[in-house]
C-alpha cells in the first residue's frame, strides 16, 4: 500500500466520520429543520460510545450508546424547534454548548480509559481488487454500513411515500397537514433520527478513527457536516462526495506530516475548513435554487 492509497483509504475512514452526521443533517433539513447542534450530537455520541464501549468492552454496544446520546441532544433540539418554534440556528448552538459542558463534566473519568476499537474487516474478494479494494474495502464495518445507508436514504427519500411526505415537510408543512398528517411529528422524528446518525459519526470518531476520548474532540466536524449538506444541495449522492473530499483533506494533512513535509501543522489543520468554506461558496449559487422552501426560511433567518 503506497502513500497515496493510504491517504485515500484514511480519507474514506475520516470521510465516514463526516458522512454519518451529514446524512443525518440531510434528513432533518429535508424535513425543514436545520440542526447546527449536529456538532453537539457528534460530541455526545463520541462520549456516549466511548463510555459504553469502555464499560461493556463491546465496541458495537458503544456505537448504539453513541446513537442514543446523539438522539438525546437531537430530541432537545427537535422539542425546542418544532414544538416550541424556537430560532433554529440559536437552538442548535445552545445545544452544542450544552453538549460541550455535559461531555466535559461527565467525560473526565474516561479520558485515560482505553477501549477495544471496532476491528477492521476485509471484505472477501472485494478487498483483493487492486486500488479499489485497499481504498474502499479494508475498513471497519461501520464504513460498509454507511455505503448501504446512502443507497437506502436515497431510496426512501425519492421512492417511498414516507420520503415524499418528509420532503414535503421541508417545502410546505401546511400541505402535509392538509393531507391529514402531522408535520410536527414527522419533523421531530427526522431530527431525532438525524441526530442519532450524528451520534454514530461521533462513535466512529472516538471508538475507531481516533480511538480515544478528549474534551471537544469533534473539533467542528459537525459544523462541517452542515456545510456539506448545504453545498451538496440536499442530495445524498453529493453528500457522499462532499464528506469524502473532507475526509481526504483531513487525511492529507496527517499523511503530509508523516512524510515530514515542512508545512506548519496548524496551517495544515486549517485546510479542511478552508476546503469546506470554498466548496460552500462555489456551490452556494447552484444550491440556493434547490433549497427546500420551508428550510430556506430557517436558513436565511426570515420567517
Amino acid at each position: 500500500m503506497n502513500g497515496f492509497e493510504q491517504a485515500l483509504a484514511t480519507g474514506i475512514e475520516g470521510g465516514t466520520v463526516i458522512l454519518y452526521p451529514s446524512l443525518g443533517e440531510l434528513i432533518g433539513q429535508r424535513a425543514g429543520v436545520v440542526n447546527l447542534g449536529m456538532e453537539g450530537c457528534m460530541l455526545s455520541g463520541a462520549l456516549g460510545a466511548y463510555v459504553v464501549a469502555a464499560e461493556t468492552g463491546s465496541a458495537w454496544l458503544g456505537v448504539l450508546g453513541g446513537a442514543a446520546a446523539g438522539a438525546v441532544i437531537g430530541y432537545l433540539h427537535a422539542w425546542l424547534v418544532v414544538k416550541r418554534q424556537a430560532h433554529q440556528l440559536a437552538s442548535g448552538l445552545v445545544l452544542w454548548f450544552l453538549a460541550i459542558g455535559l461531555t466535559s463534566v461527565l467525560g473526565t473519568t474516561f479520558v485515560s480509559r482505553t477501549v477495544t476499537p471496532l476491528p477492521v474487516w476485509n471484505v472477501p474478494l472485494l478487498s483483493k481488487i487492486p486500488w479499489i479494494g485497499t481504498i474502499f474495502f479494508q475498513h471497519d464495518v461501520l464504513v460498509y454500513i454507511s455505503y448501504f445507508l446512502v443507497g437506502a436514504l436515497w431510496f426512501v427519500l425519492y421512492r417511498t411515500r414516507i420520503g415524499l411526505v418528509l420532503r414535503a415537510c421541508g417545502e410546505r408543512p401546511e400541505v402535509v397537514a392538509a393531507a391529514g398528517r402531522r408535520p410536527d411529528r414527522i419533523q421531530m422524528a427526522a431530527v431525532i433520527l438525524g441526530a442519532a446518525l450524528g451520534g454514530v459519526g461521533g462513535a466512529e470518531l472516538s471508538v475507531v478513527y481516533v480511538d480515544n476520548w478528549f474534551d471537544d474532540m469533534t473539533n467542528g466536524y459537525g459544523f462541517i457536516a452542515v456545510a456539506v449538506v448545504l453545498f451538496a444541495a440536499w442530495r445524498p449522492s453529493r453528500v457522499v462526495l462532499g464528506a469524502y473530499v473532507f475526509g481526504v483533506a483531513l487525511a492529507a494533512a496527517s499523511v503530509l506530516q508523516a512524510h515530514n513535509v515542512s508545512i506548519n501543522q496548524y496551517l495544515l489543520d486549517a485546510v479542511p475548513y478552508l476546503v469546506t468554506l470554498i466548496a460552500l461558496v462555489l456551490f452556494a449559487r447552484i444550491g440556493s435554487a434547490q433549497t427546500p422552501e420551508g428550510l430556506a426560511r430557517a436558513l436565511n433567518n426570515t420567517s
Binding site: L36, K83, F97, S104, V105, A177, A284, N300, N301
Partner: protein, 379 residues
C-alpha cells in the same frame, strides 16, 4: 379550542402548522413543561415572568443534578458561583474585565441580527483582532508612545475583525453562501492561524517553550484604573452607548432594521440592502476585533492560544438571551461573565471540569428559547 362553536367543518380541525396544536388549556394537573410554556404564550406580565422563572429553576435543578453526579454538593456549587461573581473581594472588577470581550462580541451578534444576519463568527473575529493588535504592538509599531500605540492597535484590530466579518457577509449577499455556517468555519480557520503564529513565527524565544508570543511592552498595555479595572471597561461602556444611540437614532440603524424586517420592501424602497447587510457584519466583526485587542492589552498582556476561551460563542448565547436589544445584550453579557468567572473556582474547589459552566449558560438560553412560542426572528 372553540368548543362553543356549533358545528365546525372537518378541515378546520387540522392544526395550523405554523402553530403548535394548543394544549388543553392548562387545566389543573397539567403541569408538564409544554403546558407551562403554552400558558406563557398568552399570559402577560407577572404570570409570564413566573413561568420564565420556573423554567430557570428547572434549568438550575438540571445543572444541580449533573453536578451531583460528580460528587459535588449542588447548593455549595451555586453558592460558590454567586460568591466568585459578586461577593469575593475584587470579583466585580474581574467580572467587568472579563465582560470586555464578551460585550463587544455580543454586539457583534446583535448588530448583524438587525439586518437579519446570523453572525456566529464572534470567536474568529476576537482572535483576528487580538492577532492584529499583537502585530502592531510587537512588529509594526513597537516602541511608540502609549496613546498612539494603543489607538493604532485598536484601529488595526477593528479593521481585522471587520474584514473577518465582512467576508462572510459578502459571500452571503453576492453568492448566497449561508453566513451562519461560513462564520463558524472561519472561527476554526482563525484559531489555526493563531496557533500557527504562536508555534512558529511569533513564538517567544525567551519563553518556557509554551506557545505564546513575546509579552507586550508597557506602552502597548491598557493603563490600569482604580482596583483591578483597566481602561478597557470604560472603552466598552462608551462603545455600547454609541452603538445604542446609532442603532436607535441614526439613518443607518433605521435602515438595518428595515432590511431585517423585510428585505423585499427595503429593496423596493431603494435601500442598498446588500451594502447594508455587509456593513452590519463589518461593524459587528470590527467591534469583536476591538474586544479581542482590549482583552489582549488589558488582561492577557501577551498573545496566548485559546486566550479568548470560547468567549465568541458565549457572547452569541448572550446576544440571544438579550434578544438582540443593545441594553439587554450588554446585561446578558455581564450575567454570563459572572457565570464564566466562576469556572476556575469550580475546577479547583469541586473538581468540576472548566466547561461545566457551559451547561448553565446553555440552559439559561434554552429556557427563553422554549418560551418564544412564535417563530421569532433574530431581531
Amino acid at each position: 379550542m372553540a368548543t362553543d362553536a356549533p358545528h365546525i367543518p372537518a378541515v378546520t380541525d387540522i392544526p395550523p402548522v405554523t402553530d403548535i396544536p394548543p394544549a388543553p388549556a392548562g387545566g389543573p394537573g397539567r403541569w408538564s413543561l409544554r403546558a407551562l410554556a403554552d400558558q406563557a404564550r398568552d399570559a402577560s406580565g407577572l404570570k409570564r415572568l413566573g413561568i420564565a422563572l420556573s423554567f430557570y429553576l428547572i434549568s438550575l435543578a438540571i445543572f444541580g443534578a449533573i453536578v451531583a453526579t460528580q460528587h459535588a454538593d449542588p447548593f455549595s456549587v451555586y453558592w460558590a458561583i454567586i460568591k466568585s461573581a459578586f461577593i469575593q473581594s475584587g470579583s466585580i472588577d474581574q467580572l467587568l474585565v472579563r465582560a470586555v470581550p464578551l460585550v463587544l462580541a455580543a454586539l457583534a451578534v446583535s448588530i448583524p441580527a438587525r439586518s437579519g444576519l446570523v453572525n456566529v463568527g464572534g470567536e474568529g473575529q476576537l482572535i483576528v483582532g487580538a492577532i492584529a493588535g499583537t502585530w502592531v504592538a510587537l512588529y509594526a509599531l513597537p516602541g511608540a508612545p502609549r496613546p498612539i500605540e494603543l489607538i493604532a492597535m485598536g484601529v488595526a484590530a477593528f479593521l481585522a475583525g471587520a474584514a473577518w466579518g465582512a467576508v462572510p457577509g459578502v459571500l452571503r449577499v453576492a453568492l448566497g453562501a449561508n453566513e451562519s455556517v461560513s462564520t463558524l468555519l472561519l472561527n476554526f480557520i482563525a484559531n489555526d492561524i493563531l496557533l500557527y503564529l504562536l508555534y512558529q513565527p511569533w513564538k517567544n524565544p525567551l519563553g518556557t517553550g509554551q506557545p505564546e508570543s513575546k509579552p507586550l511592552q508597557t506602552a502597548a498595555t491598557l493603563p490600569g484604573m482604580f482596583n483591578g479595572l483597566n481602561l478597557g471597561v470604560i472603552v466598552v461602556l462608551a462603545i455600547a452607548v454609541i452603538v445604542y444611540l446609532v442603532l436607535r437614532y441614526s439613518g443607518w440603524g433605521f435602515a438595518l432594521r428595515v432590511v431585517g424586517g423585510n428585505p423585499q420592501a427595503a429593496r423596493r424602497a431603494g435601500l442598498p440592502v446588500k451594502r447594508l447587510m455587509v456593513s452590519s457584519m463589518a461593524v459587528g466583526g470590527g467591534l469583536a476585533g476591538v474586544g479581542g485587542m482590549l482583552y489582549l492589552a488589558g488582561t492577557q498582556l501577551q498573545l496566548l492560544p485559546g486566550g479568548t476561551a470560547t468567549f465568541g460563542y458565549t457572547a452569541f448565547l448572550a446576544a440571544f438571551l438579550g434578544r438582540q436589544g443593545t441594553i439587554r445584550v450588554v446585561l446578558s453579557a455581564l450575567l454570563f461573565s459572572a457565570i464564566a468567572i466562576s469556572a476556575p473556582g469550580l475546577q479547583l474547589g469541586y473538581g468540576l471540569d472548566g466547561n461545566a459552566v457551559d451547561i448553565l449558560l446553555a440552559l439559561s438560553v434554552a429556557a427563553p428559547l422554549a418560551l418564544s412560542s412564535t417563530r421569532r426572528k433574530a431581531v
